[in-house]
Amino acid sequence: GKMNQEEQVQVLGLWGSPFSKRVEMVLKLKGIPYEYIEEDVYVQKSPMLLKLNPIHKKVPVLVHQGKSIAESLVIVEYIEDTWKTSYPMLPHDPYERSMARFWAKYVDDKVMLTLWKACWGPESEREKMVEEAYEGLKYLEEELGDKQFFGGETIGFVDIAADFIAYWFGIAQEASGVMIMTAEKFPKLQRWSQNFVGNNIIKEVLPPKEKLMALFKAQFGNNASN
């Protein structure tokens, strides 16, 4: 039957944001239809966004059953709790779940920022950031091991959290000229990136490479020319 107003899912997002895309990826993997609303947060935050996420004033925000949820990984857990049966993102076993949450947080809190700063950070900090980037990636390489995805045979919570590493980071490296995650140094992560972005559902969600490349170069310039 037709979905009523209450059941409809809305996502407020930003086309280029890996945080925003995490939510869309999970909804698509679970086959949950949703209405997407683009928020150009850099130009003007809409009244709708400010009302739905007054505390952080950021995207993504998910609206469902008249209520809004903010923070991408909180949203992903909500989707998982609400639509339990299709495409589970977290393992059944409590220990495995705790490890998935641990690694997702590690990516979110530590790795992402380090990778970004290694590409675009001030020259004075660059060496330290590159070193930290290597360390973070090494832990992830080890954790991934020979699994197809961090989640095992299917995409899971950690893979979604690490979407930036699978896709955005490669483009950021190309745009900045800083090479860190090479196939030689991180063969498993390299293979995993290809599996992830090659997935039929994921690839439909990812923002276009040329658009991201242009955005990065415009916002952060080219290190080679500095």
């Binding site: 505390i55 903010a70 923070e71 949203i75 409590p94 220990y95 779940r97 705790s98 949450r101 641990f102």
Partner: protein, 231 residues
């Protein structure tokens, strides 16, 4: 009774996030062996082996498997010993998302800002930080009123996830107030949170588990004196 499951907790007496694990274990009536890590000395072999990435407490070791990060540990305890004691996380997905959202807010914004004000030597930065802490307490007051729906705790009649998350910081907060003569949790600004704080600290699962305020005051005083002489 089946064979006794091996539950170990690595912690320090001072750490509020270690207290979270202790409270959760107590809520579920789980027996465990506690190992005190040296606050300033070298880290034990077991800690380094169990948490090589962060090398931090708390670490819960259950049947030789290490569980890391305090809120993960609380969830793990909730899921593993789900048949005993009350549910720590709420059951409705939206309530769960609120618990996760606010606990992230406390851990990523509120508490780090509070700690920064205690460390900074700049009066300006301290004042600005304390202002933010105060503003955010008003948000937490609203959140408490909305989530508790008139009951004693965020979790309702019984302590839940959000109570454990924010409540674990109360001893440090109150010790700070005592040490500095400051009023951080202000009855005139956040009356509901003040009432909740007293309920939380008086609760059976909390009061014998968190460190005594005076012990923390003494420790803070000594630590401050130590860092002054080294500065």
């Amino acid at each position: 009774m089946g064979e006794r499951e091996e539950v170990k907790l690595l912690g320090t007496w001072y750490s509020p996030v270690v207290a979270r694990a202790k409270i959760a274990l107590r809520l579920k009536s789980v027996d465990y062996d506690y190992f005190e890590e040296d606050l300033f000395g070298s880290k034990s072999e077991l800690l380094l082996k169990s948490n090589p990435v962060h090398k931090k407490v708390p670490v819960l070791i259950h049947n030789n498997k290490p569980i890391l990060e305090s809120l993960n540990i609380v969830e793990y305890i909730d899921e593993t010993w789900n048949a005993s004691g009350p549910s720590i996380l709420p059951s409705h997905p939206h309530d769960r998302s609120q618990a996760r959202f606010w606990s992230a807010f406390v851990d990523d914004k509120w508490f780090p800002t509070l700690i920064a004000t205690t460390i900074t030597k700049s009066e300006n930065a301290k004042a600005k930080g304390m202002e933010e802490v105060g503003e955010w307490l008003l948000l937490l007051e609203d959140a408490f009123i909305s989530i508790s729906k008139g009951e004693r705790f965020f979790g309702g009649e019984v302590i839940g996830f959000m109570d454990i998350c924010l409540g674990s910081f109360l001893v440090i907060l109150k010790a700070r107030e005592k040490l500095k003569g400051e009023n951080i949790l202000d009855k005139s600004k956040t009356p509901s949170l003040c009432k909740w704080a007293n309920e939380f600290l008086a609760d059976d699962t909390v009061k014998n588990v968190v460190p005594e305020i005076d012990r923390v005051v003494k420790f803070m005083r000594e630590f401050e004196a130590e860092t002054q002489t080294r500065a």
